[in-house]
């Protein structure tokens, strides 16, 4: 009898322990959502924008809502961690894709989604204005996620998980030896030592240097970034350079953006109100083809825009064909 009681007690305790281990996170006081950052390219040139992908997985047994307003968190090689958000500053970023009105996403139990902070159309995340992680070196990159202004009023979502910090991913910034190193030194110099990832687009010295790179240094690793960033809007005149760059820099993290920019330029030309149907049709064809090529790279950074563009090109071309 005593032996039976002991066995029963042990069994109950085992069952309780097992139950505790298999209980949903919310009952264990754990986050409802796992948030992991990954970098499509863990090795990126110093001084240029890069994609950050976040994988959000609802590990609970109930719906959970995660904010998509991201703040960059950087851990430097000396172990210091900085949350790159200054009081009152517009230095956060809304991850894509997101609902038109919402800054959060609701995940069903077990559901997993990927969101991205890319730099399509020169819209570089606001944290790229900070120069502390732009130079050569090793960094750990994470994000803090929250939902934005009045999202709680718009949203029907439940179980908001609150501010959530993702896991981190390792980023190595590097500068190839030779011409690129010379250029990087000039980038730093022109920016007074404070070159940041958006400088090619946002500063006078950066744009001037980007122009020079486009004109004089077509073999530089910085060339595709310079081409994409020094002027946000592209038209048919830019197509040859974009396509040639896409051929030459097929291993660059910028490749999807080169195709996307080419597609945008073609779509822009296709929609020229002064074009005839033949010309419009040709450019719609090109646009759709370039969007598809951009999508084929698998880049989340351009996926949303490329999908929309491809649909638009396809749909509009049909209208041209059947007036």
């Amino acid at each position: 009898m005593r032996g039976t009681l002991v066995l029963l007690t042990i069994s109950i305790q085992f069952a309780m322990v097992s139950a505790a281990h298999t209980a949903p996170p919310e009952r264990r006081g754990l986050p409802l959502v796992a948030a992991a950052v990954s970098l499509p390219h863990a090795k990126v040139l110093a001084g240029v924008p890069f994609d950050i992908v976040v994988t959000l997985t609802n590990v609970s047994s109930q719906p959970a809502t995660v904010g998509l307003v991201a703040t960059l968190v950087v851990t430097f090689s000396d172990g210091r961690t900085a949350v790159l958000h200054e009081r009152g500053e517009n230095d956060q970023w809304l991850l894509e894709p997101h609902d038109e009105m919402l800054t959060s996403v609701q995940l069903a139990p077990g559901e997993s989604v990927q969101k991205v902070a890319g730099w399509d159309r020169g819209s570089i995340p606001n944290w790229a204005r900070y120069d502390s992680f732009s130079g050569p070196g090793n960094y750990e990159i994470a994000l803090e996620l929250s939902r934005g202004f009045r999202d709680d009023e718009y949203s029907d979502h439940v179980n908001y998980v609150g501010t959530l910090r993702t896991s981190s991913a390792h980023l190595e910034r590097f500068v190839p030896l030779g011409k690129d190193e010379v250029l990087w030194n000039r980038m730093k110099e022109t920016a007074g030592g404070r070159w940041s990832d958006n400088s090619f687009a946002a500063t006078k010295v950066g744009v001037a240097l980007a122009r020079e790179i486009v004109e004089l240094h077509p073999d530089s690793s910085y060339y595709p970034y310079a081409l994409l960033l020094y002027r946000r809007f592209k038209n048919r005149d830019d197509l040859p350079a974009l396509l040639a760059a896409a051929e030459r820099f097929s291993a660059s993290p910028s490749l999807p953006y080169l195709w996307k920019a080419a597609a945008d330029a073609a779509l822009y030309e296709a929609q020229d109100p002064h074009s005839d149907d033949a010309s419009s049709g040709k450019f719609y064809d090109l646009a759709e083809a370039y969007y598809q090529t951009a999508l084929a790279t698998g880049s989340l950074g351009v996926r949303g825009g490329a999908e929309k563009g491809a649909r638009r090109a396809n749909s509009n071309r049909e209208k041209v064909k059947s007036p």
Binding site: V69, E86, G88, E89, N90, Q92, L94, R129, F149
Partner: protein, 690 residues
Amino acid sequence: MVDRAAKGFRALLVASMVVWSHAPFAWADQRTVRITPSTAPAGCRTLNNPACGYASVEDPAKLIVNLLHDEVRCLTFADPTPPLSSVTSVDLRFPFEPRFTDPASMTVHLYGGPTWFASNDSLIGTFLRTGVALFSCTPPYYPLPEERLIGADHPDGIAGYVYGGNNALVFENTLDLEFLDITVHYRPPPSIDFDLTATTDEKQKRVLIKRWRDENPYFSDAQESLPLSGPGRDGRIRIAGRVTDQNGPMAQQTVYLRLVDPPDVALYVPAASRLRGDNDDGPGALDQTTVTTDGSGRFATVLNVTGRAAGDNYQIEATTLPGFAFRQQCDATNNCYKSGVLTAWKRMYVEKRRMLRNGMFIAQGANAGATSIVVRGNRYGGNRPHDRLSRGDQIVLVHAPDLDRSNLAAGWYMESHTILDVTQGRGSNEYIVELGTRLKGGNVSREALLHDYGPDRGRPDDLGDAITGLSGNQITASDTFDASNDLVAGDVFADAFTEYIYLSDGTTPGAKVPVPFIQSFDQPLLQDLADKWSSVVTQNGLNRVTAPNHQLLVIGASNNSQGPGTVAGVTISDVLGETSSYVFRGTIEEEVRRRGGAANAELWAMKTAAHELAHQWKTNGVWGRRDHCPPTTTAFDNPAVYCLLSDADPARSEAQRSNGIARFHGMLTPTGVFHSEYLEIRRHSDPFTP
């Protein structure tokens, strides 16, 4: 000639200027020189014997000077008249001691120059020395009789009078004088009166560096009246005046002009730096420095001011003396006349656009005549967070030209409709909105679009025409965000000699067509939205250009931010060559609501507008704080008020967000250089470009 050998006299001397005598001509001026003992030349005086020994009968307490009668230098006086005067008579007044018992006539002459033997003497006048000396050497002393000699008129001027030098009086006989007032009557030199004087209305003395838009006149009529042809009106103002003398306007009179740079008047400039010649961009220039009056005695030239430095000031000096040949500083005593102080001003225009309080973008093009549109999403958002597009809703469609301005001719427009039905597009977040109303009996009255609508050609995925859900049957002020213009158009920029004018809603293209509702962190997108809706942004190749001296201001909803430090506004800094400012009135109202009304949304939005527009000047790069000054920085004139651009701090600037006060700082940087946003704005290049 006077018998000089018989003359001897004593006097008490020295000079002060008093007004006393009559004026022989109504227009004439007079100046009086008093000769008393204390400044008499050495040797011209002898102290009275207190015991009354020699002759004088003076009060022993008085200093008595015994003037040697044969030294003309003892009654020498400097010409007190302004240059170019004409002396017509000299009156004398002198208490004297009639120690002679016999009445005698006494004549006074004037000698040009201080030498005894000058030959060019002129009669001043004659008086009768009468009476018996009734003096006593003990109190009470006999009061001295006072003689007033009205000098002879010399309508053409006293011959031999030395202008700008010394003249001497000679009395015919000895006389003891307590003092001698010499009142010189003269026809004044030509007088110069500027049209713009110290008392002229201050705005009439503002010189606009450039006007930029025709609908607003120059401040000053003297600038507005310049001919448009040739060098035109910008940065130029007519400097005119009149020359008169006793006979009225002086025709064909040469007038000499020169420019002076008076000290800065702004109190935020350190007193030690407010100096003559302190203009940031030089002294300016006059078209002519020598002009001739016309038949009405009028003259005119043009002052050319700085091309950029607001607050630089100017004053014009004028004289009829060639080469400004006067001895002292410029004032009327030297035949030198000054204009009022003129000041260079900048003018800035603000194109303010109001954002809708809810709505979504149109996803696909729809031409006039269509009865449906396709929109992105079906949530109104904004002030209708729980509402989705529904049948019967009143909506307004808004349109602005494409970013590339390829359809600019169609302009900005909007139109109202009723939603007939809403269906979701296949496999997308797009919704087809049919327009019209359902009638009784199941019939449908469709509504056709009056204009074309669609996404922007330049970025069709996230920008374009849009719709909004109305709170009533037609769009009203309650459907849009707005902020008062008062603080921006008030003192804060005017103190930097920069006038802010909001473009008129009545005449500015598209001003009444609100901006689509959007909430975004994306600076390029926000810039594109402002550009698209602005009437002053044009396309230059693939670049967009905002008209010079124009700033874009959108009163919008929010940038979505959460967390410490509410973002109540943003000024685009990450788009090269362009900028615009957003006031997030939606965020502000929400914050006020959350705080239980502890702040005033209107005042907060108004101050945020001033803060953000000030950012467009990029005044605070020196501090390395993203164009802010340190959070402890206070206004130059009020230590209790934090600087409009001081860095966010909950206990300081954030606590004063709705105090309705906008002031900048004036202080030293850590390296000891004086810094003020006022001066940065003043010195900013003109035209203003981002």
